[in-house]
């Protein structure tokens, strides 16, 4: 795929490659700099694997001070910097460019403090999302936002993309669970935003940083909220004869004021893919499936389920299947959370991330099917229905350039459809490079100019993750 461009590399940076590598070596401990050309190739992409650009070097600092030293150096010489967590971005947020230094946080993986009195955990940015919950699980707590890649993705990356997940319907996304950060500004200054309380005086810069895609600074530590685990939790499977009916059912559940912990949607192709990997016992004779998770005491769960079953009945639900054991519940979620990767068993894919008002869910599902069919491709839908956060996986053959181009065109049409339906381009994966040029479809020029002005206030030279988020045309001169 070559439709999406990158900024042209700066000749002044490329020509100084040897000195830059030498200087960075002096700033970092042994084993913390990758610079041999062949060793840089594995860093050329993330989970948006269609696009690839090998970087100039990869710095893997072990401390905030080293992060600051690298940033200060790159700032001084105008060298682009691309922050990277686990490289699991589906929008290309961590894809480098030829003149960039990748700043990888993968060596900063310590949990610094767990404070049950304040219900917070303070962790280094390279800690994986799931390992926060793992660390506090035995004491009855968890960290709520759960991107499907939570096994691997880092909290730093979650903050950059304001990541969501299946259980965010009830608990909110990253920004609703983030209390404070330690962050290094582009010139190497270390600042702290927020703290252990729910709000801090002054401008809500923490809110600004969360979701800024590595363009305002590099977060090295985060303080997050811990939540007490519910008394019980039960995923229940609801099978329907059509995607539209399942979509309409979701709208009615939420419309009735019922907020389960999660409502996840899978259509038939997605069910088949996930069942092949997880053998979770998903019903195979339905066109669409909702995984609804309720939690609380037995009485609370029963009460909520009764209302949901009633609503589902009005939409002709075909199968209602409660998980029979903790093991099966775990398999149901394992299958769901592995859906994207498991798609690799049958085809290459690109994953869309548009979000729509729930009243539009059925229409957009139908429209998505039409768009994909028009481009002669197949689609699997698996997404956070309760949030209206859709993830059509467009299936294609990466070894066929024409097929790849069709997939990309179909993706753009789907995202425009989401925006036109009153929704937005991205629910949780971020803009990255993938949706950058579509930002004009979402925002007016005035909106974009204001966002770029804020960005430039933090990074006047535009060296932090520069090819991302904002359309390449129409940027202010630097």
């Amino acid at each position: 795929m070559e439709q999406i461009g990158f900024l042209p590399p700066k000749p002044a940076v490329l020509s100084r490659r040897r000195e830059i590598v030498g200087d960075l070596k002096d700033l970092l401990p042994e084993g913390c700099l990758v610079h041999e050309p062949r060793s840089l190739v594995p860093f050329e992409t993330d989970a948006f694997v269609s696009y690839r650009r090998a970087p100039l070097a990869v710095a893997l600092p072990e401390t905030t001070a080293q992060v600051a030293a690298v940033l200060k150096y790159c700032h001084r010489y105008g060298i682009p910097v691309v922050p990277r967590g686990a490289g699991t971005s589906l929008s290309g947020g961590a894809i480098p460019q030829e003149d960039a230094v990748v700043l990888g946080l993968s060596k900063m993986t310590r949990i610094l403090e767990v404070d049950y009195a304040n219900r917070t955990a303070t962790v280094q940015a390279g800690v994986t999302n799931l390992s926060i919950s793992d660390a506090v699980s035995a004491d009855g707590y968890f960290y709520a936002p759960d991107p499907s890649s939570q096994l691997a993705c880092t909290i730093g990356g979650n903050i950059a993309m304001n990541s969501g997940g299946a259980h965010c319907l009830k608990y909110g996304v990253t920004t609703n669970n983030l209390l404070g950060v330690k962050m290094v500004l582009v010139d190497g200054t270390v600042i702290e935003l927020g703290g252990k309380a729910l709000d801090a005086p002054g401008l809500d810069l923490l809110g600004l940083v969360c979701g800024s895609e590595g363009q305002l600074g590099v977060v090295t530590e985060a303080t997050v909220r811990l939540i007490a685990k519910p008394e019980g939790a039960r995923p229940v499977l609801f099978g329907f004869d059509s995607s539209e009916e399942a979509g309409a059912c979701v709208a009615d559940i939420i419309g009735a004021g019922i907020i389960p912990v999660a409502i996840e949607f899978m259509d038939k192709p997605a069910i088949e893919i996930c069942e092949a990997f997880a053998q979770a016992g998903y019903p195979m004779d339905v066109e669409a499936l909702l995984i609804v998770e309720v939690e609380g005491s037995e009485a609370e769960m029963d009460g909520m389920l009764q209302s949901i079953v009633e609503i589902a009945g009005r939409h002709g639900v075909k199968v209602v299947k409660e998980s029979q054991s903790a093991t099966q519940a775990a398999l149901i979620w394992r299958g769901r959370k592995s859906a994207f990767g498991a798609t690799g068993r049958i085809a290459d894919y690109i994953c869309m991330d548009g979000t729509v008002p729930l009243s539009q869910l059925s229409n957009v599902l139908r429209g998505t099917a039409e768009i994909v069919a028009r481009h002669g491709l197949r689609v699997a839908n698996v997404f956070h229905a309760g949030d209206g956060n859709m993830h059509p996986l467009i299936l294609f053959n990466a070894n066929d350039p024409e097929d790849a181009a069709r997939a990309e065109a179909a993706g753009n049409d789907i995202l425009k459809l989401c925006v036109d339906a009153g929704g937005c381009l991205t629910g949780e994966h971020g803009v990255g490079i993938e949706k950058r040029e579509l930002m004009r479809h979402q925002y007016t020029d005035a909106d974009l100019a204001q966002q770029m002005a804020v960005r430039a206030a933090f990074d006047p030279q535009w060296i932090l993750n520069p090819s991302k988020v904002f359309p390449l045309e129409g940027r202010p001169a630097v």
């Binding site: 594995p42 893997l60 890649s149 592995s338 990767g341």
Partner: protein, 432 residues
């Protein structure tokens, strides 16, 4: 993900297989999270995804292996945790096997590495040579500290550290037929093994006692050799295939002369390899089918025991921390079976945290990569000891040797505990 091979390149069956494997990877990165070396070193190049990319780049460009690629492939434990984690079903095992073969064929290692590897390949798979080497190690032990300080000699220090203080005299399974006690219910072959009978003959002794007591005739064929896993993981494909062919012949002879219900393996590292004979010999027109038959018969001892309906036993007041060897849980996907057998036999079984992470043994890894291995061992021992066990049980000799050097908790093979629970002697290690 996209691949870039010419039809000429794909004419090589090894490249063709690897290309299919690479096409399945979607670069999602899930594998990084459960990879022991990524978790330890925090570098993409030391993760499965990074290695897959390095291999892809090397093969696509038809390049000989270079120092960088070799460094990162050598650091791979082949624990296959990534294979368990991978949602797309990427067959990393056969991809890294191909890469190791490519390295062996195209890269000349520095002199000291060549000496170490040649020595390991010439000694470990041969019980008599190995026993002699262990006796020599007893004399060399005082020099271990010195070796550790000299760059390049660390593997020798690791070898001396791992060598047992005393070398057992017996050799485990005597060649020949061990008749069943009472009515014969079945007939199996047992893999005698190479390093295991020298280090812990008790394991196969216990297996034979237990199986014959349960009415199973156990034959230990005389002409059998090392399964080939040790050299296979060094990329020495021809040597590995030679071992495989020889064993296939030996076992087929047993099938013809009396039939076999299973080939019992008591070291899960060997089990993973024997179950892969069918793949390893797929390009050999004479052996492909025979090897597939043998692979289908290979069973870990716990897999076979589970078919024998062992009765539930009275609870014993003994807490067992079960360490699942990587070759058991990731290589052979045997996860709950051994624990169920132990529970039924009356033991209290506990799972350590981070059970998916390798202990750092990994064949010759603890000798060739002593630093990473030591870090992983410390992490494993800490997690095992946190369960406050009376004894640690596992199903692989490599793990037993590795973990035993890091803890004072006794460590036994699962089958030694089962033998005791079903009428055998209490294992000597538990008699105080």
């Amino acid at each position: 993900m996209q691949t870039n091979f010419t039809p000429e390149q794909l004419a090589d069956p090894h490249v063709a297989t690897s290309e299919k494997i690479l096409r399945k990877c979607v670069h999602c990165g899930f594998c990084t999270a459960t990879c022991p070396t990524y978790v330890t070193l925090g570098n993409e190049l030391d993760s499965p995804r990074g290695r897959i990319y390095l291999i892809k780049d090397m093969l696509e460009n038809g390049r000989p292996a270079d120092e960088e690629v070799v460094t990162h492939i050598d650091r791979c434990l082949s624990c296959l945790a990534c294979v368990t984690t991978c949602p797309s079903g990427v067959d990393y095992m056969h991809l890294v096997d191909h890469a190791r073969m490519h390295i062996e064929n195209t890269y000349r290692r520095p002199f000291k590495d060549r000496v170490t590897r040649n020595l390991l390949a010439a000694v470990l798979p041969y019980p008599r040579r190995f026993r002699l080497a262990l006796r020599a190690a007893a004399l060399g032990r005082p020099f271990a500290g010195l070796f550790r300080r000299v760059k390049g000699l660390a593997p020798f220090a690791a070898m001396l550290d791992l060598a047992p203080r005393q070398v057992p005299k017996s050799s485990g399974s005597r060649p020949g037929t061990h008749p069943s006690v009472g009515t014969r219910r079945g007939r199996v072959a047992i893999l005698s093994g190479c390093a295991q009978p020298v280090l812990k003959p008790q394991i196969n002794e216990a297996t034979i006692r237990l199986l014959t007591r349960l009415g199973i005739e156990v034959v230990a064929p005389a002409a059998e050799v090392c399964c080939g896993a040790l050299v296979h993981h060094m990329g020495r494909e021809e040597q590995a295939l030679e071992s495989a062919r020889r064993n296939v012949d030996v076992w087929l002879r047993e099938i013809d002369n009396g039939g076999l219900d299973a080939i019992i393996v008591t070291a899960s590292g060997c089990g993973t390899t024997i179950k892969d004979y069918g793949f390893m010999l797929r390009l050999d027109p004479i052996y492909a089918e025979k090897a597939a038959r043998v692979s289908a018969l290979a069973k870990d001892v716990t897999e076979y025991l589970a078919t024998l309906d062992l009765p539930e036993q009275e609870p014993k007041r003994l807490t067992v921390a079960y360490h699942s060897a990587c070759s058991m849980q990731h290589g052979q996907k045997i996860t709950t079976l051994p624990k169920t057998l132990l529970k039924n036999a009356g033991f209290t079984v506990r799972d350590p945290a981070e059970g998916h992470l390798c202990c750092g043994s990994a064949g010759t890894y603890n000798i060739l990569q002593p630093e990473i291995s030591a870090t992983l061992k410390a992490r494993k021992v800490k997690n095992l000891e946190a369960t406050t066990p009376d004894v640690i049980a596992t199903g692989n000799i490599g793990c037993i040797t590795q973990i035993a050097t890091g803890t004072t908790v006794p460590i036994l093979h699962t089958v030694e505990l089962l033998d005791w629970a079903y009428g055998g002697e209490k294992p000597a290690m538990l008699v105080s």
